[in-house]
Symmetry: C2
């Protein structure tokens, strides 16, 4: 059996409560006693039993995060932010990809063993989210709901920058390949788009979705394709390349998110940089605040256009 608080107490010649206090409320113990206890703790390699602790405090010291698709490098980046900040706050992180099971089921399962959860780009409807938020402290990422904390990335502004950039290059015939219609990010992008492009879709926000989108976009005769995200844009580039269409000479392409591969592909992708890691960190901050009894809070993080080689002047003919 592992070493318990009683072993420490015995060897340090104090009561168990003193040991407990020395560990979790240092101010309430005489410094000398505390040192002695800590020494014994180290000597014995004592680790408080988390189950016992959380049984009484009702806190687990754990956070959960649910992401829609880990294969999209956007989410590992968020996860990194969450993880590093959680680590600083002394929390461990539970993780779930919502392709494994329904989002609400996952959150409910998690709720049993975490103090709060970060829910990324949820596709649940408002009522469902509200119900979950009622059960568990929650922070939404790229999604809003009154009374629930959220971290937003300014998709509207990002998309507006994209359209402006294309307009400056002389593109008048633009087409937008839309993402999931329930998605908050998609809807915000539409706001930024302000009807300055034709709309196609919805498409899966993946490479394959982009391939399909490109196919449809080609028949419109547009000179610029605006993809919902980078993964789709990569699919677009791939399809155009197999069709022998040059980018950006014949058609310009833009993505969204600035995932790592946006800079590595050919041609490098004009896209919108999202503050992913920071969003992860902020989400944890908000969650921790909330757990400490603070109010629900919304934080919007800025985005910015990253012009690269996949966009160029519109072709002169048409």
């Amino acid at each position: 059996m592992a070493v318990t608080i009683r072993d420490v107490a015995r060897q340090a010649r104090v009561s168990v409560s003193t040991v407990s206090r020395a560990l979790s409320a240092p101010g309430l113990v005489k410094e000398a006693t505390r040192q002695r206890v800590l020494e014994v703790v180290r000597g014995l390699g004592y680790e408080p039993n988390r189950a016992a602790r959380s049984l009484i405090t009702g806190r687990t010291g754990n956070l959960g995060i649910v992401v829609p698709d880990l294969e999209n490098p956007f989410y590992p980046a968020v996860l990194r932010g969450v993880q590093s900040r959680a680590h600083e706050a002394g929390c461990a992180v539970f993780f779930c990809d919502s392709r494994v099971a329904a989002e609400d089921a996952l959150v409910r399962t998690m709720a049993a063993q975490v103090d709060g959860v970060v829910l990324c780009a949820s596709l649940l409807d408002d009522d469902q989210v509200a119900e979950l938020a009622d059960t568990t402290p929650m922070v939404l990422l790229n999604r809003t709901l009154p009374g629930v904390s959220s971290v937003l990335m300014d998709s509207a502004s990002g998309m507006a920058q994209v359209v402006e950039h294309l307009a400056e290059l002389g593109h008048t015939d633009r087409v937008y390949l839309g993402g999931p219609e329930q998605s908050w990010s998609h809807r915000r992008r539409l706001v930024g788009l302000a009807d300055r492009a034709r709309r196609l879709g919805p498409f899966e926000p993946t490479f394959d979705g982009g391939v399909e989108g490109a196919r449809q976009a080609l028949s419109t005769g547009a000179t610029a394709i605006i993809a919902y995200n980078d993964l789709m844009a990569l699919g677009v580039l791939s399809h155009l390349s197999t069709r022998g269409i040059r980018v950006p000479e014949d058609i310009s392409v833009t993505g969204f998110d600035n995932i790592l591969y946006a800079a590595m592909c050919h041609p490098p992708l004009t896209t919108v940089a999202m503050p992913t890691e920071e969003a992860g960190r902020v989400a944890v901050d908000l969650l921790v605040d909330r757990l400490a009894g603070g109010p629900a809070e919304c934080r919007e993080l800025p985005t910015r256009l990253v012009p690269r080689a996949s966009t160029g002047k519109a072709p002169m003919f048409s």
Copy 2:
């Protein structure tokens, strides 16, 4: 306060022990009683408190996984496998990226709240791993240690296939850009290489590492560059492209792992397919077996060459 086992007992007019048994040892309760209890459980929405349960059973029902770099799409894929299998087994998954803190510290922290951990491509030395494995049931991924379960991907064979492929294309002057020297995968790849290529490195197993590797490789005059992994190969492609060197006409390039982007880049990358998701699932199987008292086990999964457009005939001149 949440509903407890006593509430259920009271309403079902049985003792708490009967409720407990109805839930975790159905055989020990009369069917009729059991049905009645289950009904009340559903009616009240009762969920057993995990902390209380694990306090007494010593089990948490959680698994942990430590990966070296979530930015490498290889690991999200493994994670997916781990997660889906764990979900089937009724376990939740803790996750850690070892860039947040030292591997052994992470494992130790995790050990406190999981029943076992999957340690991926650890760079710790044998003694350290052995010590950890002594504390917590553990499964190693792409790493071996006597007495510890592990899931291996056959890197040696994969690399042998790469070399053979290049040889068939007429490349006699090949260079290998090595990964981390402590890495088991790297060493296995060397075995498969069998000195049939010059060795450079070590390099960071990242895009930037690949850029640096390409720089050094160019001065050797080799006609084929074998990268430790796809991420590096992507860096190689990028550097060659900025230098105006054509792939595969001037130089052939290969990667390793078959990450998603290997198929999306330009030209598509010849690489070695790794059974990532399956490895994740198998790792969980092994861990679960171990927890049930089974013996340590080693499982090696096959790899296979995926020829694409980044490799071609060696140039005739030299």
